[in-house]
């Protein structure tokens, strides 16, 4: 784990009083607002009887340890992982540990106390990034030593070396005297050490990497008390139901408020006008992502005393839209055809070219070709988009289920024009994200609506239909792949011509192992279609589509070469300087009993992909999957088994990893079998689960085999949230081919006739 360059050991542990960056700010974090209840996760100022060791850590008189975390937990266990890392060094009682979300406002007011090293990597992203782990370990070690020093003082100056810290108790070994952490926390927090302790090496960890405790918030999930964005309840709160231009980029033409103004509870409407001027009070500060990514859509919201009243009134409100240029995309077929047409020839952008591909490709022993397409998908966050804001002349408060609270903080500042020290962003728990809540267009809309009703908190809730149709979709993408195989059946030349809706990412193809080095001659291009649909990151930008294309195609190459698909991949990746790939393949094949004999209608398929490698071996996370399917003669598909192996390098929490792989695999099943949005007159057709189905309990295997034998032990801890999704779809598709002889080159599979005779 490398030391973060910008920050010295000392900087982690200095106390809080620094006020930021030479700015003339008189506001302080404490005194900004009152503390709130314990099921709300946003940080509130530390009371005087609680010891604040650094902005990351406090200890209360009753020994409660509060760890402040800046990345939201989306179900991935990230806050628990942070707290475990801190606990490893702090030697506190795990049962006394709780977490809070660090405040972006405080970060700003106190000179970047939570974000030194850059916004993006700090208020979002994973818990195992070396920089974050290092901070937690250092803060824990320092607090432990300061607690010992405070106890030593209390005991009349006994040598610190005679004191042991364990399970939140300090023991003077020679005399047997004890003190609880909470008894000396305030005193300890004020101590400055001569030299900061060095965290122990990983080999001496006793908790991290050993224990797999349940997530810290589980008890609040099981009794229903955990506060998600939609559960925020502020005094005097109003509710809003929102409707944005059904064709993205369109404009509100007219509406007739008179028709609804007598309905129960209705207070009024708020119109969001994208052309209204918006400006940061301080335009020198830089947000983690460009603020333009959260640009507002033309919208109208009805505000009422209760949400149901707002929704009923909105449904009854006559509204007319000017659709704008997006209406040119009349049907799904029209858009698919545009994509297919565009990939018949090289695209205008060359992504990667090597060797003399175009001259030699057709002269090889065999030529394999295939055309593939993946549609627009929505994240379908389980908690529909929502948020709450109160705007007054001199302050804005936002309570939000964000995936990046620092980005949301800047957006709220721009939308209100208030200076940053008057913006208070309170991060709530989040009911899934998958990338949907990163750019903050949802934050923007909430503040834009609430500012029309100044002085009262307004909770804006997207209906499920609105949440899906106003997504920031995974972009539609098509590709034509072609390979020239030598006499041994292995590829020597490869072309990939891709086209996609605005915002699509082709990078999985040039950055994958084929692109980087396995095939000597490659030519990879792309072309962007002129579409208006709003797009965004979806569990690994571009990754899932390219994994589906490349791994389906690899199977087609293996078939043409007459070589078993596993054997073919082992030969291909033998040339790739990252042993984790073949290790994962062998592991998953062994565990799934690859090659067992199956009757017609049953089949196994294999696939492998990597997210995060960025064109490099021994980077990112490699995942391999073997799927077994059964297809009835009528064409009903059943997934019989899914086995997954992976290589993140190393891991720290086995059960947390297992849960993530299971969840990722199920997400992959749904994406491949079910998900695809359709278009009519520039609008998205699907609105709710009746049209955009989700897999349920009965649709997936009873257990998902998660196998750890693919781990290479390489010195990295790759992330595990996004990678498992990639190989699932192609493994299932390849299995369907073996079961039925039908090759599926587009998703979702539910649109294909799988019947066989």
């Amino acid at each position: 784990m490398g030391i973060h360059k910008e920050i010295s050991r000392r900087d982690f542990v200095i106390s809080t009083a620094v006020v930021g960056g030479g700015l003339a700010i008189t506001a302080t974090w404490s005194g900004a607002f009152a503390a709130s209840g314990s099921t709300t996760p946003w940080a509130t100022p530390t009371p005087a009887n609680v010891g604040e060791f650094t902005p990351w850590l406090t200890i209360a008189p009753d020994d409660t340890v509060t760890v402040r975390v800046n990345s939201p937990d989306l179900g991935n266990g990230i806050v628990t992982q942070f707290a475990m890392t801190m606990t490893e060094e702090l030697e506190c009682d795990w049962d006394k540990v709780r977490v809070e979300y660090a405040s972006a406002t405080r970060d700003y007011l106190e000179g970047g106390v939570y974000s030194k090293g850059g916004g993006l990597s700090y208020f979002s992203g994973r818990s195992t990034s070396p920089g974050k782990m290092e901070i937690m370990l250092q803060v824990g070690a320092s607090a432990r030593e300061r607690l010992k020093a405070a106890a030593a003082e209390q005991w009349g100056g006994v040598p610190v070396s005679e004191i042991e810290a364990k399970k939140s108790v300090l023991t003077h070994k020679p005399s047997g005297r004890t003190l609880r952490y909470g008894e000396v926390a305030v005193k300890a927090a004020a101590i400055k050490l001569e030299t900061e302790p060095k965290p122990k090496p990983q080999s001496e960890w006793t908790f991290l990497g050993k224990a797999s405790p349940a997530k810290l918030q589980i008890s609040m999930i099981t009794n229903g008390s955990l506060v998600y964005g939609i559960d925020v309840r502020e005094p005097d709160m109003l509710y809003a139901a929102i409707l944005q231009s059904p064709v993205h980029g369109g404009k509100l033409k007219s509406y007739d408020f008179d028709k609804i103004k007598g309905l129960p509870g209705v207070r009024g409407v708020a119109v969001v006008d994208p052309s209204e001027p918006r400006k940061m009070a301080d335009d020198k500060v830089k947000s983690p992502f460009p603020l333009g990514l959260s640009a507002p859509q033309s919208a109208i919201a009805v505000i009422a005393d209760h949400y149901w009243q707002a929704k009923v009134a909105l449904d009854a409100l006559p509204v007319e839209w000017d659709d704008g240029p997006g209406a040119q995309w009349k049907t799904t077929e029209q858009l698919n055809k545009a994509a297919y047409d565009a990939i018949q020839k090289p695209g205008s952008k060359v992504e990667l070219t090597r060797g003399n591909t175009l001259e030699i490709i057709d002269k090889q022993a065999k030529v394999v070709e295939g055309t593939y397409l993946t549609p627009f998908n929505d994240h379908v966050t389980m908690e529909p988009l929502n948020g709450t804001a109160r705007v007054t002349a001199d302050r804005v408060d936002v309570w939000h289920p964000s995936q990046h609270s620092q980005q949301g903080f800047y957006i709220a500042a721009e939308e209100t024009g208030l200076p940053l020290e008057k913006v208070f962003f309170h991060q709530t728990w989040v009911g899934t994200g998958f990338g949907r809540r990163v750019y903050g267009d949802d934050v923007r809309m909430v503040v834009a609506v609430a500012k029309k009703f100044p002085g009262r908190p307004v909770q804006v809730i997207w209906s499920r239909e609105e949440s899906i149709r106003q997504g920031r979709f995974r972009a539609l993408m098509a590709t034509k792949l072609k390979a020239g195989l030598d006499k041994d059946g292995m590829p020597v030349a490869f072309t990939s011509y891709s086209a996609g809706a605005k915002g699509f990412s082709v990078r999985g193809i040039p950055d994958g192992a084929y692109g980087v080095s396995i095939i000597p001659n490659v030519h990879i291009t792309s072309e962007v279609l002129n579409t208006h649909f709003l797009t965004g990151p979806y569990r690994g930008p571009g990754y899932n589509s390219s994994a589906f294309f490349m791994e389906t195609f690899t199977d087609e190459m293996a078939l043409a070469a007459g070589i078993d698909p596993l054997e073919y991949r082992l030969r291909l990746y033998a040339k790739w300087p990252d042993a984790g790939w073949t290790k994962c393949l062998k592991e998953v094949a062994a565990k799934a009993n690859w090659g067992k004999s199956l009757p017609k209608g049953r089949g196994q398929g294999i696939a492998i992909s990597n997210w995060g490698m960025g064109g490099k071996p021994e980077a990112g996370t490699t995942v391999a999957c073997v799927a077994e399917v059964e297809v009835s003669k009528k064409g009903d598909l059943k997934i019989v088994a899914l086995d997954v192996s992976f290589d993140t390098g190393r891991i720290v929490n086995e059960d947390a990893i297992r849960a993530q792989v299971e969840g990722g695999a199920i997400f992959g099943v749904n994406m491949t079998l079910n998900e695809g949005l359709h278009i009519k007159d520039g609008r998205i057709v699907e609105g709710n689960y009746d049209q955009y189905p989700m897999v349920r309990m009965a649709d997936i295997p009873k257990t998902i085999g998660v196998h750890f034998g693919g781990l290479s032990g390489h010195d990295r801890m790759g992330e595990i949230g996004e990678p498992p999704v990639g190989p699932i779809g192609p493994a299932i598709g390849n299995a369907i081919f073996r079961a039925t002889g039908k090759r599926l080159r587009t998703t979702p599979f539910r649109e294909h006739d799988l019947s066989w005779a």
Binding site: I218, G663, M694
Partner: protein, 152 residues
Amino acid sequence: MATALKVNGKQYTVDADPSTPMLWILRDNLNMTGTKFGCGIAQCGACTVHMNGEAVRSCQLPLEAAANAEITTIEGLTSDNKHPLQQLWAEMNVPQCGYCQAGMLMAAAALLKDKPNPTDEDIDNYVTNICRCGTYPRVRAAIHRAATMLKS
């Protein structure tokens, strides 16, 4: 219009349009936010509560139909978080984001009342809730274990 309700053993009177779904009555009028909104069309199960002991999707249950019934929400499943399902949910690390889990627990609790020895098929049929995080294998395993726990 005032309607009398009994939720988690307590009497309430709410003043709302009688056609308002119980989901919103619970969340907005009674401030019981454990019951979640997921779809509003009886598809996802996030809003599952018990009415007279049976699992129902409260987004499709009008206030007037709930009057005079015994409604139980996640907040009232137990007072101490110690239902075998709640305990196993923690022990087996079932939830991921947790948003669907109140509905899962209410559906599972109703199943166990009806069928103390549920088969895999019973689970498939009773617990048809959607979980976008993909906790299905753990939900299934925890229900089986809870059934064993309840027997002893």
